[in-house]
Amino acid sequence: MPIIEYKCPNCGSGMVFDADTGMLSCYSCGRKDNIEQIPDPLTKHVFSEEDEAREYHCNSCGAVIMTEAETSATSCSFCGSAVVLSDRLTGELAPVKIIPFSISKEQAMKAFRKWCGKGLVTPSGFMTADRIKGITGLYVPFWLYDLHNDVEVYARATKVSTYRSGDYEYTKTDYYDLYREICLDYVKVPIDASEKMNDELMDKLEPFPYDKLESFKTPYLAGYIAEKYSYNDEELYPRVKDKIDKYIYSYINSTVSGYATVNYTDVDIDTELERADYVLLPVWMVQYDYNKRKYTFAMNGQTGKVVGKPPISKMKVAGWFAGISGISFLTLHLVSSWIIGGGFW
C-alpha cells in the first residue's frame, strides 16, 4: 500500500505535524507523539516500480486521491485526512534531510499581515491584508550542493601615482603581473528543484537555517503538501555553477585590492561536485487577491521572511518622491542660504 496515513492510536483521527511543538499531534484528542519514536514505514517497505497512471485511494474514506504528478504529500479532498504518497519518497526520490516548519499556519498569517502593514509603497487596501485567499504549507524540494573549487587567476594590474615638479605634473604608472591560486569550498548551496516554483522567488527566501536540518522522517509531512523534485542534481548543476561563479569572482576581486586597474588575462575555475543532497525545505505559499489580480507570496517556514511582488501604489510612490525631493530641496536651499549669509533668495 503506497499510502501512508497517521492514525491516532487513541481516537483514530488523522494526526498531523505540529510546527509549534515539533511533534505529531492529534487535534481531536490532543495526543502528541515524538517523531523520533514512530517507526517510519518508508524504511521498512520497498515498493515495486509501477506505471505512472496509478491511483491512490484514501485509507480513511476510500476516495480517489487527486494529485499532481509531483505531489508527495497532500490531504484527501473528501475527508481531509493527511496522506503521504510513499512511493514518491523512496528510492531515487527519497529526501536525505528536511527542515520542518517552525512557523504554524496562524503565525504565518499573522506574520504575513504584519509584513503587508509595513509596505511603504503598497496601496492602503493591500496593507490591511484581509483578502488572503489561501495559505499552503509546502515542502519544496531543493538540492544542497557541496562544491570544491580550485581557482587560478592571471592578471595584469597597475598602480598609478601623480606628483608635481616645477611646471609639470607627472603620472607614474607601475605595471604588475599577478598570480593567485585560490581554494574555495561552498557548502549546502541551495537550488530549488521544483518546476512550479519561481526561481527568483526561491532565491530571495534564503538563507534557511541549516542547524535545523533533520534526517528525513515521513511524519514531518503529515498535514502539509510536499513535492518531489522535477529536476535531478545533474540537471540543476549549471544553475548552481552560475550561482557560485558570482561568489567566486567577488572573492577573486577581494584578493587583488590595492591596484588602480586589474585586467584578468586568464581565470581558470575548476569546480568539483563533492555531494548533492536532496532536501525538503518549508515554505508557506500565500495566495492573495487584490484588485481582481492574483498575487503569490512565499514565506520562509523557519525565518518568516516574506518575498513576492506586491502591488505598487502610484499615488504613494509619487507622494514619497515629492516628499523626499521637496524636503531635500528645502534643506539644501536653507543650508546654502545660511552659508551665503544673505536673504532667503
Binding site: 509603497v121 603620472t171 604608472t173 569550498d185 561552498y186 530571495k204 561568489y247 567577488s250 515629492a322 531635500s328
Partner: protein
C-alpha cells in the same frame, strides 16, 4: 502633508526671484551711467540705467559706469579715484556705497572699484572675477552686454558672504533642485525594488571559511611608465596690465576702496 510640501515646492519655482524685491525701484531714477565715449544708444542707456537703479537699490549701493574716450584720459585707476572724490557718489550719502566701472577707450583699460559696503562684499578677488567675465565682451565691442553682466554679477556677488565662492554650483537653485529630484528618484526606486523582498545572502554565506583561502600568490613588478603634462596656469589678472597697481587703494580724498584693473 505631502500635498502641502508639493504645493510649496511648486510655488517656489513659480515666483521668479527678481520680482519680489524689484518693484519699488522704478520710483525715482538717478543717473548712474556717464557714457561720455558714447558707446550706448539711447535705448540701451535707458535699459542699463534702470537695471543699475533697481539692482543698486537692492544692495544699497550705486552701481555706476563711466566711459571716456579723450586725449585727456590719464591712468584709469586714478581717474576712478578722482571721480569718486569730485562727484561724491553714494547710495546712502555723498561719498557712500558705490561700485564704479571706469572704461578708458583711449588706452583700452578698465578699472572696477568698490567703496564702503561694496568694498566689504566685493574684495579685489571678486572684482577680478567680474572683470574676467566682462573682458571678452569688451574686447569684441559688445559694451551693452558687458555692462549688463557687470551690474548683474556685482549684484549677485554682494549677496554672498565674504569667503564663500559665489560661483560654487551648489548655490545654484537649479542644481539644488536637480540634486533633490535625483535623491528622491533614487530612494523611491530603491523602495519599489525592495518591496518584494531582497536577496540577503552574499558570497560569504555558503563559503566554508575553514578550508577556503588563497593558496599561493605572486605580484611581479614589471616596469614603470611616466607621462608628464604641463600645468596650465590661469592667466593672472594683473599680469599684462599692472599700470598703477592691480587691486584697491585709497583716493586723494582718503576713501579706501577695493578694485581690479585690466586691459581689453
Amino acid at each position: 502633508m505631502i500635498l502641502a510640501v508639493l504645493f510649496f515646492f511648486v510655488m517656489m519655482l513659480a515666483v521668479p526671484m527678481d520680482m519680489i524685491a524689484g518693484e519699488a525701484a522704478a520710483t525715482k531714477e538717478k543717473q548712474l551711467i556717464f557714457d561720455t565715449a558714447e558707446l550706448l544708444n539711447q535705448q540701451e542707456y535707458d535699459e542699463l540705467n534702470a537695471l543699475a537703479n533697481q539692482y543698486g537699490a537692492e544692495r544699497e549701493t550705486d552701481m555706476m559706469i563711466m566711459t571716456i574716450n579723450s586725449p585727456e584720459a590719464y591712468d584709469v585707476k586714478k581717474m576712478t579715484q578722482d571721480f569718486y572724490d569730485d562727484y561724491a557718489p553714494g547710495y546712502d550719502k555723498p561719498h557712500g556705497n558705490a561700485v564704479i566701472l571706469m572704461l578708458d577707450m583711449t588706452h583700452r583699460d578698465v578699472y572696477l572699484a568698490g567703496f564702503y559696503k561694496a568694498k566689504t562684499y566685493l574684495d579685489d578677488e571678486r572684482f577680478d572675477k567680474i572683470r574676467d567675465k566682462i573682458t571678452p565682451d569688451l574686447t569684441s565691442g559688445d559694451y551693452k552686454l558687458a555692462f549688463q553682466k557687470y551690474i548683474q554679477t556685482a549684484h549677485k556677488y554682494m549677496g554672498f558672504r565674504l569667503g564663500v565662492n559665489p560661483d560654487n554650483i551648489f548655490f545654484n537653485t537649479w542644481v539644488q533642485l536637480g540634486i533633490a529630484l535625483a535623491l528622491g528618484g533614487g530612494i523611491v526606486t530603491l523602495m519599489v525594488r525592495r518591496s518584494g523582498g531582497r536577496i540577503t545572502v552574499n558570497s560569504r554565506t555558503y563559503e566554508d571559511a575553514s578550508t577556503s583561502g588563497v593558496v599561493d600568490y605572486e605580484d611581479t613588478y614589471l616596469h614603470t611608465s611616466t607621462t608628464k603634462r604641463k600645468i596650465e596656469r590661469s592667466s593672472s589678472s594683473s599680469s599684462g596690465s599692472s599700470g598703477g597697481g592691480g587691486g584697491g587703494g585709497t583716493t586723494s580724498g582718503g576713501h579706501s576702496h577695493s578694485g581690479s584693473r585690466g586691459s581689453f
